[in-house]
Subunit: 212 residues, 2 copies
DNA sequence: TTAACTATTTAGTTTACTTAAAAAATTAAA
DNA sequence: TTTAATTTTTTAAGTAAACTAAATAGTTAA
């Protein structure tokens, strides 16, 4: 057997195993998303795949590692969505437009993506502490993107010099994330509109000129 | 034995049991706060009190009910703190001052109160879903206080008519709650300063007049 | 076809919540 | 003070779910 064939075989083996692993991840994400981390037993995941719970350990070291992989995929998903949204903007868009686009991407990923993303966000708090810690590393990478956009806006003179950008960034993301707790598809506002409104609060302020 | 004495006896019995229950709550709050809900076994709580785990069931139906009582106390604590802060204000304070006072109370309770409050906030997500649901009832009561202050401010003409107060309220509280994730006592800003800054963002806006 | 490797199952062990019955401690009544 | 009743704690399970290791089954390479 020549090298070429050997490589192909190795690949097909790999995809086989990989496929099983993917199936496990998909089933787990769906169940976690619906019943929460603690509400989903490995038994449930295995049942969904017509497997035995013990078999999962061939593919994952622990339930913890399994949910960590789901979390990672979900968070990367958010990052990709936000980056794409901002990159789609025309060159020389205003600072405000960039922040609004990022906010729209953020909310969109949070609210209308699949099981991985929703598990990552909705069940983040239920996950083992060690998993949350790993998640924080990815989140930090994400937040540094926001940091960059805000610094640029302030350097352009669009954000007042007196504004503390760290607190601003955390406030904006805190406000956006809270949307998860109350947004409903049946509401009268679209996700994009909500993002626009929330950025509007901090950009323009809510006070009348009288009250300042 | 006359009625008076009987009543006193009944009372002393009650305080005895009550005291044990309180001790359990205190120990549990301290451990939950340090190691999280799932990280704390009933065994650990019992050990701290030199009891056996089974004994806890005389006082509480389940671990779930135990943490629910802690959550309730912690949330009531926040409500009381915020109300007090706002009531301490002079009559006819400005709308801005009221919101700032409420924000200071909120952050103060979140960041520097005892084990009950910090367990309620930090570990909320780890608690059983049924407990979270109960917590939401109290939180709703709390949020309606904010609703009231915001409506009053808008009626006075201090908040622009175009502002959606529901989204505003959720944004503000989302931003304030996020502070838990990054605040450190060693930082250069006090809790009150952080509250002032965060309300300032939405009240005055962050954009320079050029960028609006 | 056989040997090696991969994947799954089986049959447990462990840990932690929970329960019920027994034991101990406390209080009330005689 | 002794006995009876009540309260509180412990003991000794039961149960559920994560995890492990050994056995088995399935697949691929030579």
């Amino acid at each position: 057997m020549n090298a070429k064939v050997k490589v192909e075989k190795a690949k097909s083996e790999k995809t086989k195993v990989k496929k099983t692993k993917e199936n496990i991840l998909d089933a787990a994400a769906a169940l976690f998303s619906k019943h929460g981390y603690n509400g989903t037993a490995l038994r449930d995941i295995a049942d969904a795949l017509e497997m035995k719970a013990g078999s999962l350990y061939y593919h994952f070291d622990s339930k913890e590692q399994l949910v960590l992989e789901i979390l990672t995929i979900g968070l990367e998903n958010i990052i990709d969505t936000v980056i794409r949204r901002v990159e789609e903007l025309p060159e020389n868009s205003s600072s405000r437009d960039i922040l609004v686009a990022a906010a729209k991407g953020h909310l969109g990923a949070l609210l209308e993506k699949g099981d991985y993303t929703s598990t990552s966000i909705r069940n983040y708090g239920q996950m083992p502490v060690a998993v949350q810690k790993e998640g924080r590393i990815i989140r930090d990478r994400y937040e540094s993107m926001w940091r960059k956009w805000l610094v640029k806006a302030q350097e352009k003179g669009d954000i007042k010099d007196s504004i503390d950008l760290k607190i601003l960034r955390l406030s904006i993301l805190g406000a956006l994330n809270r949307t998860l707790a109350w947004y409903s598809k049946k509401g009268d506002l679209s996700i994009d509109e909500i993002a626009e409104i929330q950025v509007g609060f901090v950009w323009d302020g809510i006070a009348t000129s009288d009250a300042r």
